[in-house]
Amino acid sequence: MKSEQNEQALLKGLASNDSRAIETIYKDNFSMVQAFVLNNNGSYDDARDVFQEAMIALYEKAQSESFVLTCQIKTYVYSICRRLWLKKLQQLGRFSNQVDNLDETIPVEEDMEIHEKRNAEFAIMDRAMKSLGEPCKSLLEGYYLKKKGMQELAAEFGYTNADNAKNQKYKCLMRLKKLFFSQYNIGD
């Protein structure tokens, strides 16, 4: 019971991007995933990528209000990682049948679909941001990612006042939106 509460607390921490909670989950689960990937034709880098992606999937899931944990974090992370790695292996054409299947897994196909969709959206936004150029990129990053106030950004980027910065921000935002919607289909 206690461990269940613990896990809930950890997931809450994860959802609010609390680095201590993330560190705990990381410590508890990473070596298991690393061993799995290493034992199945993967490298240390592969293990890190797979694990971090699973963490992001868990994070996305934990963020949604309707989220209920139906299994242990360990099982969930392992299931996602297994799925991700098998897919990667298949893509690389080095699929081997010897994949370790002793640990408990749960079906994660649905979550994977959601995660993949978000991954694609992330990639579109990322591309749009990167093709934006300076100072727009840094300005918007400061505003949307680092959640800085207009006053602070104005000082940082050398605008005479916050309104000027705001104006500049809107100009950049319009360009970003254009770039984003050229790739993103609303109908999807």
Binding site: Q52, Q63, E121, M125, F180
Partner: protein, 369 residues
Amino acid sequence: MDDIQLLASIESYLAGEMSPIEVAVFEALRKKTPEIDQMVVEHKLFQHQMEDYAATYNIKHTLHEVHTRLLENGDVNEGGELTAKAQVVQLWNRYKRVTAIAASVGGVIALVISGLVAYFSPVVNGNQIQQLSKDIEIIKRNQQYQGSLINEVKSKIPNGVTVISGGSGFLIDAKGFIITNAHVLKGTAAIVVDSKGKEYKAIIVHIDTKKDLAILKIDDEDFTPLKSLPYSIGKTNADLGDEIFTLGYPRNDIVYGVGYLASKTGFNGDSLSYQIQISANPGNSGGPVLNNNGEVIGVLSTRQAQADGVAFAVKSKNIFECVAEAKADDPSLENLKISVRSTIKGTSRKQQINKVADCVYNVKAFSKK
């Protein structure tokens, strides 16, 4: 400029920063102009996307930080960045099970092998005692070394046979009866070579593996029997500290060695033999051990492998027993008479050696195919 103002309005409308009046105005505008309505919906979606992007971006950032920190603290290991110690620990952790299995398999195999070795190896003496017969490699080497002797060796050893073992032997009867160790005669026949390099064919008359003694008879037309032997074969036990000497063929040349009687019993209290302190090598087996009086007190047979200079000799009275048994087996040996009179007593060691050397033979045993 218009677009920017519109965007600003939409943003503050969506953020709920507008006053109720402004909201009413804006909503009226939105209803009237479908383009603006469209823009609001679009911007809402975009904002949602941006939030997701920001969240994912930040969690990725945190994950990266956590990973780096854990890596630095050693809670997480990655091949390339490991210190040597951590690497060993990680390798150990990874191969612990395999290592354990390998170790137990190795252990079992070691046990089985040592068990088999113990089962099949001779029971007595084990490897602590080394028989002093020469094996074939040593003989081969000596033959190369003693190039001049090779032709003669070839002439007497029948074609198509291999020399298996060799050692020393000495006459106990001037008519050509030679005593040597049983372990020297691994084959079925032998030739003997005297100190001048002359070879004679010999037949095996009797073998007593218990006493480790064997009797050979020179059966060769070239052999001219001696009138008498210079030494006698002792019937009584020798005394501790008696100075002794031996002659033998650890090489193809006769080699002299000197020492003393160290114990009246042999290895592990074996009462059939003496322990003597003498430098002995493979090939010395079967050589005579004589005291100062020119009396053979034993037949040099083995040495202790781990100790330097510790050798063992079969007591000479066993020769009498061995000859008696041989006579009982084969009546034709009636005329075998063991030398009992020493003619070299009281002469100088040099003269003793000179005389004795004529009666000590290099024994080469071979087997017929």
